[in-house]
């Protein structure tokens, strides 16, 4: 005889899970939704009390202004009345070039991370050599050093080399905050791969480099994607070093321009939020699309770290 299971506890469990999931979703998304909503409001609407959670008259005027001035299609109107409806602050034209700078820096840092990180991680994971543990400890130690402790020496050296206000200074110093982590994640990934692959290929006469390129690299694609994403996001989001080294739009990255807008009292609130949205969209898209790679990469880096 089949005894029907009591539905009570299971139902409550389902309700509890649904409530908790909704609560978490609201916690994570509400601040971002408010940022997005604010970026789509007119200047008149955004100063309404109580706030309009969903804009009555959504407008893309801020984004149109950013792209029109950024692409040189329209000059930034100088000093119009900030309370006016169509006011475009003069910094609007700096956002797209800054985005370009951020992109160049981030891509360069990703490439260098892979070029430096892959061979080093392979050596640490697969070759027994004297000083291997020293290399590991050195990598771990760099992660304990606060980035702000590197700012003073970096600034003096960069200034002496005449590299202030250049993208090169950002690319090189960002290696300090990205390479150790990349090596760590890659090394823990390589370590999980069987050593037999290595031996078999070398019996066939492959050099270490050939083994790495032909055997491990094709298998390591998920780790390469994860490490590339981490380096890209870290560079795209970095603020402190860029604040020290950049001075003009020749090298200013997106966070610098956005921070300037945040503290500029003449910029309208809706434009401020539009600038925020512009900085948020690329990294968030990358993170959501490549969620699986990121989670497995973070896990690999953490379990070892």
């Amino acid at each position: 005889m089949i005894i029907p299971r009591p539905i009570g506890p299971r139902l409550w469990r389902g309700v509890g899970l649904a409530a908790a999931a909704c609560l978490l979703l609201v916690y994570v998304l509400a601040p971002v939704a408010w940022l997005l909503s604010s970026s789509l409001q007119t200047e008149r609407e955004i100063v309404s009390i109580p706030p309009h959670w969903i804009p009555d008259h959504p407008t893309l005027q801020n984004f149109r202004a950013i792209f029109a001035t950024g692409l040189g299609l329209a000059p930034a109107p100088p000093g119009a009345d900030p309370s006016g409806a169509g006011f475009v602050p003069s910094v609007a034209g700096n956002l797209l070039p800054a985005m370009g700078n951020s992109f160049i820096v981030a891509v360069a840092v990703v490439i260098l991370n892979l070029l430096i990180g892959v061979p080093a991680a392979y050596a640490i994971a697969k070759i027994r050599f004297r000083g291997r543990s020293v290399a590991l400890y050195a990598i771990l130690a760099t992660r304990v050093i606060p980035d702000i402790a590197l700012v003073v020496p970096f600034f003096l050296v960069v200034r002496k080399l005449g590299l202030l206000d250049s993208l090169v200074s950002l690319i090189v110093t960002y290696l300090a905050i990205t390479v150790p982590f990349s090596v760590f994640v890659l090394a823990s990934f390589f370590e999980q791969m069987p050593d037999d692959l290595d031996r078999a290929a070398r019996v066939d006469g492959c050099s270490r480099l050939q083994v790495l390129l032909r055997v491990y690299l094709p298998l390591a694609r998920p780790a390469l994607v994860a490490v590339g994403l981490f380096a890209f996001l870290a560079s795209w989001n970095e603020f402190l070093l860029a604040l020290m080294f950049t001075q003009t739009s020749a090298s200013q990255t997106l966070p610098i321009i956005v921070a300037g807008i945040t503290s500029d009292f003449t910029v309208s609130f809706s434009f401020l939020n539009a600038a925020g949205v512009l900085a948020v969209v690329p990294p968030v898209l990358l993170a959501v699309i490549f969620e699986r790679y990121i989670v497995s990469g973070l896990t690999a880096g953490a379990v070892k770290g």
């Binding site: 389902g14 990180g117 110093t173 300090a176």
Partner: protein, 294 residues
């Protein structure tokens, strides 16, 4: 000098490691040593030609300054609030994501959004939420009737640190939850089985099985978040610039002010060094104290 002959493998390893060694030397080891050197001089960019050697005077001055110790206190409060709240919220999130329910994958993808957002955009977003005139926080609380008139959030010295910590926590919870979830997944199922046979209620299972098993995860997350909180700069720059009246003047902000506003590079370097050493000691002490409980 007797150089040991490198084995074939070691020659290969040194070639493969050359790039890493060069990077670590150039952008980590050298700056750290150079910083130590600078901290022994009275370097002020307002007087670029006079750089007298002062030995440990910069350190003595920093350690004797009440202003510095006040900023240390604020850093400790900010970090304690942040680490505690991140651990609590992340544990709840991890336990939730450990269950099987429809939409779990969408939820965990959304969870990465705060992690991915640039800290500058995070600062902008929360500054606007806390805005005393048109911000969402006042708007929401007024509409719900929790407050009767608009509050000045960040401008209130008693609330500033907590509000900045809230923005920090929001961004840090996802990573912490992911790390704790890994630990949860590694708990052997038969541990739960044994508890179920005993007829233990769910909360009992959590306290006696899940919680102890999570300890290594707690250690990792607490250590990492404490390191991040103690050095955090971006939100302080964006939200309050150390204000109001020094209420959010933490060590990282102090280093910035000494270095780039007062242009005393020697003092800034000495403070950075103290912060770096404190971070090292803290991570060591934290590992030790938590390892003893394991």
């Amino acid at each position: 000098m007797a150089l040991r002959v490198l084995t074939h493998d070691e020659r290969a390893a040194s070639g493969l490691l050359a790039g890493l060694v060069a990077v670590l030397m150039a952008v980590t080891a050298f700056p750290i040593l150079y910083s130590l050197w600078i901290s022994l001089f009275a370097v002020n960019l307002r007087r670029p030609n006079r750089m007298p050697f002062v030995g440990l005077d910069n350190y003595a001055n920093v350690l004797a300054s009440p202003q510095f110790w006040e900023s240390v206190g604020r850093t400790a409060i900010f970090s304690a609030m942040s680490v505690g709240a991140v651990l609590l919220v992340a544990t709840l999130v991890a336990v939730l994501l450990d269950q099987d329910f429809p939409g779990r994958r969408v939820l965990s993808a959304c969870l990465l959004i705060p992690w991915a957002i640039p800290s500058v955009a995070n600062g902008l977003m929360w500054k606007w939420i806390y805005d005393s005139n048109y911000g969402a926080l006042n708007g929401l609380l007024l509409q719900l009737g929790f407050i009767s008139s608009a509050m000045i959030w960040l401008g209130d010295a008693d609330r500033t640190l907590g509000l900045i910590a809230n923005a920090f926590i929001w961004k840090e919870v996802p990573l912490a939850a992911i790390l704790l979830l890994v630990t949860l997944k590694s708990i052997p199922a038969d541990l739960y089985g044994a508890a179920a046979v005993d007829g233990a209620p769910a909360w009992h299972r959590f306290v006696h099985v899940t919680f102890p098993a999570l300890r290594p995860g707690f250690l990792l997350v607490a250590l990492y978040e404490a390191m991040m909180a103690v050095r955090h700069f971006d939100l302080f720059f964006l939200l309050t610039e150390g204000g109001p009246g020094g209420a959010s003047d933490v060590v990282a902000w102090r280093i910035y002010v000494e270095t780039f506003r007062n242009l005393s590079f020697g003092t800034g370097a000495a403070m950075s060094y103290i912060l770096a050493i404190a971070t090292l000691l803290m991570s060591y002490a934290l590992i030790r104290s938590m390892a003893r409980q394991l």
